[in-house]
């Protein structure tokens, strides 16, 4: 984040991959990709690919972790060793631990955990290919996986990244933009309720820039929401 470089990220109003400032990458979404799981989904934004699977509600062990009044949600975000340029050692690191936590809190408000006392809903997110914005791609996949599992939800969770690169505000950062841009921000929301469930930002922004960036983020999430609804409708039409 914010490394100095001579790379021009915006030339003649277009980004390194030819996109407009507020344009998302090519998006692909599929559900029921892991048939052993209760629900699953694959989401691709350009070259970033995430697969998510939901198991549960299922009995939670060890017993001391069970909540008598409510179920719990567990989310594990993990990057495959081959997903990045420089091989990533397998296993959780500090970054994945933090991302697992914020992803869980991004999704939790949508679930009716009180309906499943003592149970757990486990969501596993694997990043198979990383080219920027992996956590939001993972959250989009996780939300679809839960819907695919038939979990009652207050709303789907749509997530996206936005940022400031070469002084301009853009949506859906790819790897280059994430690394060399001045600011990046990830948000997740329940779009039909206009509620925010995740927000992380690093970089430097004036309050005015933040307001504009936040607006771009919520608009982008709403575009993603429409795509999520579409893939679910099309899947269930076939059933």
């Amino acid at each position: 984040m914010g490394h100095k470089s001579d790379i021009k990220l915006i030339v003649d109003g277009k980004r390194t991959d030819g996109r407009e400032l507020d344009q998302l990458r090519e998006v692909e979404m599929k559900v029921d990709v892991v048939n052993r799981a209760n629900g699953s989904a694959m989401v691709r934004f350009g070259n970033t690919v995430a697969v998510a699977a939901a198991y549960g509600p299922r009995e939670l062990f060890p017993k001391f972790m069970q909540e008598p009044q409510s179920g719990i949600l567990r989310v594990r975000y993990n990057m495959a060793p081959f997903s990045v340029d420089d091989r990533k050692s397998p296993g959780p690191d500090r970054r994945s631990t933090e991302i697992s936590k914020v992803a869980r809190l991004a999704i939790e408000p949508s679930l009716f955990l009180e309906d499943f006392p003592k149970a757990t809903i486990d969501v596993f997110i694997e990043i198979l290919q990383a080219d920027g914005s992996t956590r939001v791609t993972g959250i989009n996949a996780a939300s679809l996986a839960l819907a695919d599992a038939g979990m009652p939800m207050r709303d789907l969770v749509a997530a996206c990244s936005v940022g400031k690169i070469d002084g301009q505000l853009v949506a859906d950062l790819n790897g280059l933009e994430d690394n060399f841009g001045e600011t990046d921000m990830a948000i997740a929301m329940q779009p039909s309720k206009n509620k925010l469930t995740l927000m992380q930002m690093d970089g430097v922004l004036t309050k005015t820039e933040f307001d504009r960036l936040f607006k771009l983020a919520t608009e982008s999430c709403k575009k993603i929401y429409e795509m999520q609804k579409k893939v679910l409708k099309e899947t269930y039409k076939r059933v």
Partner: protein, 270 residues
């Protein structure tokens, strides 16, 4: 449980258990240079919450993508003595999150002039290890930890060093003898704003933290730019909450910055 219920009832009536206003901090104490063996340190109290940050300087190989910049590493320990809810062992998700949020506030604000920490270009740089130890958890660890880390870095002195000569492996760091102060320019302040119903409050104490719907930590630089944001808590925020929380944080950060500047000034007199 009773304390939490009481705290919640009071908040919904516009009051707080300790009589504070919603935009008021507990009494804050910042004591730099508290740990003699550290190159920089600070003890910070927000009411009864207490943390200590210590800075140790070591030499290291720079990261490949920043070959001419010093290294910053922030770690925090939720020491078991600080709370019956903390267990011994490696940092859990809360400790990791706190470390990373404090790290981003410092790193993204460009607080430390890391280009001045190069010992041998592309080969050897100073690494600043900032370790934050929780001593007593009575709420709002992130804000206390951030102030402790920032104050500790601002009062850090870089030790004298004899770099290893040809054929030698080990650099000799002459701890106790100092070269110069760490080049720290900006003063980012992190303010965590909590939401309970329609109420926004700063510096939640332990009971208040347990009844918050959600909270937003905002790191603000002295030019009022925002350099880090982290939403926490298990409930949603309304889009309109965000704006009010950020405005509140920008306003309060100026007050806390004065306290940090005072502490740094006192330390430099020594």
């Amino acid at each position: 449980m009773m304390e939490e219920k009481y705290a919640l009832e009071l908040i919904m009536k516009g009051k707080r258990v300790d009589g504070r206003k919603f935009d008021e901090f507990r009494p804050i104490e910042i004591i730099p240079n508290i740990i003699k063996n550290a190159e920089g340190s600070a003890q910070v109290r927000f009411g009864d919450t207490e943390v200590i940050a210590g800075v140790k300087m070591k030499t290291g190989t720079p990261f490949a993508d920043t070959p001419n910049e010093g290294i910053l590493i922030v770690n925090s320990e939720f020491t078991p003595l600080a709370s019956p809810d903390f267990e011994s062992g490696p940092p859990g998700e809360d400790a990791i999150e706190l470390s990373r949020v404090v790290d981003r506030g410092i790193r993204e604000s460009h607080m430390v002039d890391v280009e001045q920490l190069v010992l041998k270009p592309e080969e050897k740089v100073w690494a600043m290890f900032v370790d934050i130890h929780m001593i007593n958890h009575q709420g709002n660890l992130i804000d206390a930890a951030s102030i402790a880390a920032v104050t500790a870095l601002h009062t850090t002195k870089i030790p004298k060093i004899e770099l290893a000569k040809e054929g030698e492996k080990i650099d000799k760091i002459l701890r106790g003898e100092y070269e110069k102060p760490l080049p720290a320019v900006h003063i980012p302040i992190t303010i965590t704003v909590g939401k309970v119903g329609n109420n926004l409050l700063v510096d939640p104490n332990l009971e208040e933290e347990k009844v918050l719907d959600a909270k937003l930590s905002i790191a603000v630089r002295e030019d009022n730019t925002i350099c880090a944001l982290q939403k926490q808590g298990s409930k949603e925020l309304e889009l309109s909450d965000v704006d009010k929380m950020i405005e509140l944080a920008i306003r309060k950060s100026a007050e806390l910055r004065e306290l940090v500047k005072e502490a740094i000034k006192e330390a430099r007199k020594e």
